[in-house]
Amino acid sequence: MIAGDLVQTDAPTLSPDDTIAEAAEVLTRYEHSNLPVVDEEGRLVGALGEEDILALALPTSAAELDRLSYLPRCYGLRNLEDEELRETPVADVMRREGLVTVEEDELAAQAALLIIRHHQPQIFVVRDGKLVGRLCRKDIISQVVNPTLGVACHP
């Protein structure tokens, strides 16, 4: 069984030119925690997830701090509503490195292993650098519980 057997090809994607506000909207609407960013030719160029939006809500220096527990109780989260931040293109905020991907023809077990190792909710499936779709934990779990693709060849 390969990753391509389980991949969801109709999942939403972002373009580098989309704004943060649009990305946040897609993230909440589809209940996806991490979205692939693809360019016009369909190449996977980055990813933007819930954590990236959360990071924007913190004080700007928070990324360098070990903890924020000593800040005054009145400190809130930064509001994306009134900031020009809202109009920031996805390209400025997305992660370009450390994307967890698997080639379409890799074993589904390899996809599962990467998901576990990198604590990802899902993994992006690619073919020659182009995004094919995504493979979620749930897709693998349902295949484990209720196999529709035949029996595994290992003991």
């Binding site: 004080p59 220096s61 928070a62 990324a63 360098e64 701090l65 070990d66 527990s69 000593y70 005054p72």
Partner: protein
């Protein structure tokens, strides 16, 4: 010079150029240079690793002192002590920007003198940014002064700045000697520095009651993550400092004290050794190892001796001339390139020329006494003051500067090279002027 000498000099100059231009990572360069020196037979492995009477080899005293202090500081880091100090300082200043700045400079200078200045600023800088953001002020000018304070404070002691660690080890200088010689001039420089901040900025930065109250509400008690571990760390740091004060009298090397402290803090720390040891800045350690081997290669083939004789010729063996040349030359060199390779080379050079400078070499009981004879001693201090303070000239002059620049930039407040130079250059020139007078008064008057 022999062809081997030219080869060694070629490797060294190429490595220096790569490090200065940052084309390749400095640790990779230093290790590659060291490996080449041994592979090409310029120096044999035994001499490089263990040294001989003439060649120092890898200075394990420096290496283990660095590692010991890194372990102690990294365990302490997790307790929140540094954040506590920063917040407490801000609250003592009642949220007023300039008193906070002077307090931060003082805390940073003291912590930099007692621990390592890079780690100190690495931990204090982010907290300073949050505090000045709360005051709705641009944190950059304040960070610049904290960087300057950190390098000033680090100059005062043997453990404060890596150049001093190398100098102390190579010239057999004790912790208390650093306090006696560098201490008074650093105190004077710091007082002048704080006075200038007060005069220059006291009126310029005023904030409203609302912002000041925001800073007063910071809760330093919540910064401490683990009270038990904090007290253990403070106890170990206290013991290590007592050890440093007494190491000369006890005939123990500073590295022994730091290693004992590191061992004790690891025994008292619930985490396993893997977590603690992983936090050691291994690239820095290997950078030093590579440099020491390269410098040993240069000494072995006689390049350093030739340079040393050239230096004596130029200054006609005058201790005063040599002291002043080394002070200013070290400062300029340290402002432009990393001061560690410079000091490692200069230290080897001074070791070679020390016997030739001594008025009566036979008057010294041992080789260890001879490298710190009366004529060369002021030059060692000039090297320390010049290399440490010279790091304040530019934004790339010292590791602490580079570390804070990175933090500040990632927090959305980039420190410009020119903006740093505007304060760093004139202040450092003034401070070096003071050092010139001080060294003259102390050793030649």
């Amino acid at each position: 010079m022999s062809s081997t000498a030219y080869l060694a000099a070629g490797i060294f100059v190429a490595a220096y150029a790569l490090i200065a231009t940052e084309r390749v990572d400095k640790t990779k360069v230093a290790l590659a240079g060291a490996a080449l020196m041994i592979l090409l037979g310029i120096i044999d492995q035994d001499t490089a690793f263990h040294g001989t009477h003439e060649v120092e080899g890898i200075d394990w005293n420096t290496i283990f002192l660095l590692m010991g202090m890194m372990i102690i500081v990294n365990v302490t880091r997790a307790t929140g002590l540094f954040e506590w100090v920063a917040i407490k300082t801000a609250k003592v200043g009642h949220g007023r920007p300039i008193p906070i700045l002077i307090g931060m400079c003082l805390s940073t200078a003291v912590l930099s003198a007692l621990l390592d200045n890079v780690t100190t600023v690495l931990l204090i800088a982010p907290t300073i940014i949050v505090i000045y953001e709360a005051l709705e002020l641009d944190p950059v000018p304040f960070l610049i002064f904290v960087i300057l304070a950190s390098n000033i404070g680090g100059t005062a002691t043997l453990v404060g700045d890596p150049p001093n660690i190398i100098i102390a080890s190579q010239a057999n200088i004790t912790f208390m000697e650093f306090v006696y010689i560098n201490g008074p001039i650093i105190l004077l420089i710091f007082l002048l520095f704080a006075g200038l901040i007060w005069l220059g900025f006291g009126k310029r930065y005023q904030v409203e009651e609302e912002q000041r109250l925001r800073v007063v509400q910071f809760d330093e008690a919540r910064a401490i993550t683990d009270h038990r571990l904090l007290w253990r760390c403070l106890t170990v740091i206290g013991l290590v400092l007592v050890g440093f004060v007494l190491h000369g009298a006890l005939h123990l090397q500073p590295a022994t004290i730091a290693l004992a402290g590191a061992a004790l803090i690891m025994l008292l720390h619930p985490d396993g050794p893997r977590e603690t040891l992983e936090e050691i800045e291994w690239p820095t350690i290997f950078f030093f190892i590579g440099l020491f081997v390269m410098v040993a290669g240069l000494v072995e083939v006689g390049v350093v001796g030739a340079l040393g004789r050239g230096m004596i010729d130029v200054t006609q063996g005058s201790s005063l001339a040599l002291t002043m040349v080394v002070l200013w030359f070290s400062a300029i060199a340290s402002g432009i390139i990393d001061n560690i390779p410079f000091v490692a080379t200069m230290a080897a050079l001074l070791r070679v020329v020390a016997p030739e400078l001594a008025a009566d070499p036979s008057a010294y009981a041992s080789a260890a006494e001879l490298v710190r004879n009366e004529t060369v001693m002021p030059v060692w201090w000039a090297l320390s003051l010049g290399a440490c303070l010279g790091g304040n000239i530019t934004l790339i002059g010292a590791s602490a500067n580079v570390v804070v620049a990175g933090i500040s930039s990632r927090s959305g407040h980039p420190i410009g090279f020119g903006r740093f130079l505007k304060y760093g250059l004139p202040l450092t020139v003034g401070f070096l002027g003071l050092c010139t007078g001080y060294l003259w008064l102390r050793f030649f008057w």
